[in-house]
């Protein structure tokens, strides 16, 4: 089991609220740069700082509660995360009819499939402490993938509608007619996680691993978890991209293999 308890912490001790207050100095620095260079982001920075504090504090309490004998809340926690991801992704791809439902479907499938495999194969324990953080990672990745696929496929089909309709006119089904752009959207959605997996460790030490190392785990334990996380994200992204592209294509054509009117009238 990868998430077995770690050895003693290498960090001198837990971060205190006082430490957080001190680290705000770095935010202040960013605000000064923003003001000095007239970037105009000081207000956003203040809001972001405040929000991050409140949100993470709340989440910290919720997780603490779930992990201490309230594990039955895990599915609910995942459901809330999936719903939030679906709303966010759906809003990003507002142009696609039914975008929220598509996002809900693709994020759910990605989450259930990856966590299901990991838990069923006992690679991770089916405990809240494993499921919730890994779930949040795969949900975030699936959300970004889904937004990308939906917007890309919509915009590509709108921009290439003459060619799409030429293919339809030659009696190709809507699936055949959209295939080149379907592939392009899948590819562009899956490439980032493939590339990240390729260069991992050479360029960036990713989150799960750095977190474990900071918490005092041995680097070898940390990389084993990180590998599982990367493979999970690769799989999750592929699932999300496949579901999102299939459902999006379906919403952009009528059952009679016609481009939906709204798409044909999108200015390009």
């Amino acid at each position: 089991m990868l998430l077995a308890s770690t050895s003693s912490s290498l960090v001198s001790g837990p971060v205190t609220f006082g430490d957080i207050a001190l680290s705000l100095f770095l935010v202040l620095l960013a605000a000064v740069i923003s003001r000095w260079q007239r970037v105009g982001l000081e207000r956003d920075m203040a809001v972001a700082t405040l929000r991050s504090f409140v949100q993470l504090l709340a989440v910290g309490y919720v997780l603490e509660f779930v992990f201490t004998g309230h594990g039955w809340l895990t599915p609910l926690a995942l459901a809330v995360m999936v719903a939030t991801a679906a709303l966010t992704s759906g809003a990003r791809a507002r142009r696609v009819p039914g975008s929220r439902r598509i996002a809900a479907a693709s994020v759910s499938v990605a989450t259930v499939a990856t966590l299901g495999v990991l838990a069923a194969a006992r690679i991770i324990p089916a405990s809240p402490r494993a499921i919730v953080p890994l779930g949040s990672m795969v949900i975030t990745a699936a959300m970004n993938t889904t937004s990308l696929v939906m917007t890309r496929l919509h915009d590509d089909l709108a921009a290439n509608r003459r060619e799409v309709e030429a293919r339809l006119s030659l009696a190709q089904s809507s699936h055949q007619a959209s295939l080149p752009w379907l592939r392009a959207s899948l590819r562009s959605a899956m490439l980032p996680s493939v590339d990240q997996t390729k260069v991992v460790g050479l360029v960036a030490l990713p989150g799960a691993m750095t977190g474990m190392i900071l918490a005092g785990a041995s680097p070898l334990a940390a990389i084993r978890l990180q590998l599982v996380v990367m493979y999970m994200l690769l799989g999750g992204n592929a699932f999300a991209a496949l579901v999102a592209s299939t459902l999006t294509a379906r919403r952009l054509f009528t059952p009679a293999h016609q481009l939906v009117r709204q798409l044909r009238r999108t200015p390009t």
Binding site: R162, A166, S169, L170, Q172, A256, H257, R264, R265
Partner: protein, 226 residues
């Protein structure tokens, strides 16, 4: 003067745009024989009407009949095999001319007046006129009964124009039902039948005397054809 049953009949057709109808109350017949020109100024909804014939779009009101049957009752892919459509600007797919046209490429290129040696050329390296002919060959490869053409000569220079006009005339003479949208008044002479489409900004319905068919043009559109 139509003796046989029409190939297409449009009955009281309405197609809605974002800002009101593009065409409304439109009725017309397309005979099975010969070349029918759908004529009228830009924005009258000619392209919109043509798109109804192979169901790239469906009317919001009225019906379109093919050989006496509502087009919506045919299997749509089968319908599109029978009713081929070539757009204003030729679309070439990636690959060679042969990849675009299919196994009968040699015969089909000859049929549309292209050198069969072009078969191995990259389709996107054809001139616009050549590409338009290739698009016709690609459509003919499906063995259609009807060929719908949307302003097939408008993107071409004068020489290519004449060539395509002759080809279209020839295909109609071979027995294909050809429907051609055009705003070029000269095409009235090329056609056997003319269907007039009038943009009606004023609400009055103006009957139009066609040559053979009895269309009743109507419709207005603030935007261009698509």
């Amino acid at each position: 003067m139509i003796t046989a049953a029409p190939r297409f009949e449009l009955r009281d057709v309405r197609v809605d745009g974002d800002e009101g109808p593009i065409v409304a109350g439109f009725s017309a017949c397309v005979p099975a024989e010969g070349l029918t020109a759908i004529m009228g100024p830009s924005g009258a909804g000619k392209t919109t009407l043509l798109r109804l014939l192979n169901r790239l779009d469906d009317p919001d009101g009225g019906v379109v009949l093919l050989d006496g049957r509502d087009v919506r009752t045919y299997d749509v892919l089968e319908l599109r095999r029978r009713v081929q459509s070539v757009g204003q600007v030729p679309v070439t797919f990636p690959g060679t001319v042969a990849d675009n046209v299919g196994p009968d490429v040699t015969a089909l290129l000859a049929h549309v007046g292209l050198d069969p040696a072009l078969a191995t050329r990259d389709a996107d390296r054809l001139s616009v006129g050549e590409a338009q002919r290739m698009a016709l060959a690609r459509s003919l490869a499906l063995g259609p009964d009807v060929l719908c053409l949307d302003e097939p000569t408008s993107a071409l220079d004068a020489t290519s124009k004449g060539g395509i006009e002759d080809l279209v005339r020839h295909l109609a003479d071979e027995g294909l039902t050809v429907v051609m949208v055009t705003h070029d008044p000269r095409h009235a002479d090329l056609a056997d039948h003319v269907v007039e489409v009038q943009p009606l900004r004023a609400k009055a319905v103006r009957p139009v005397d066609g040559d053979g068919s009895t269309p009743d043009g109507d419709g207005s559109t603030p935007e261009g054809e698509r």
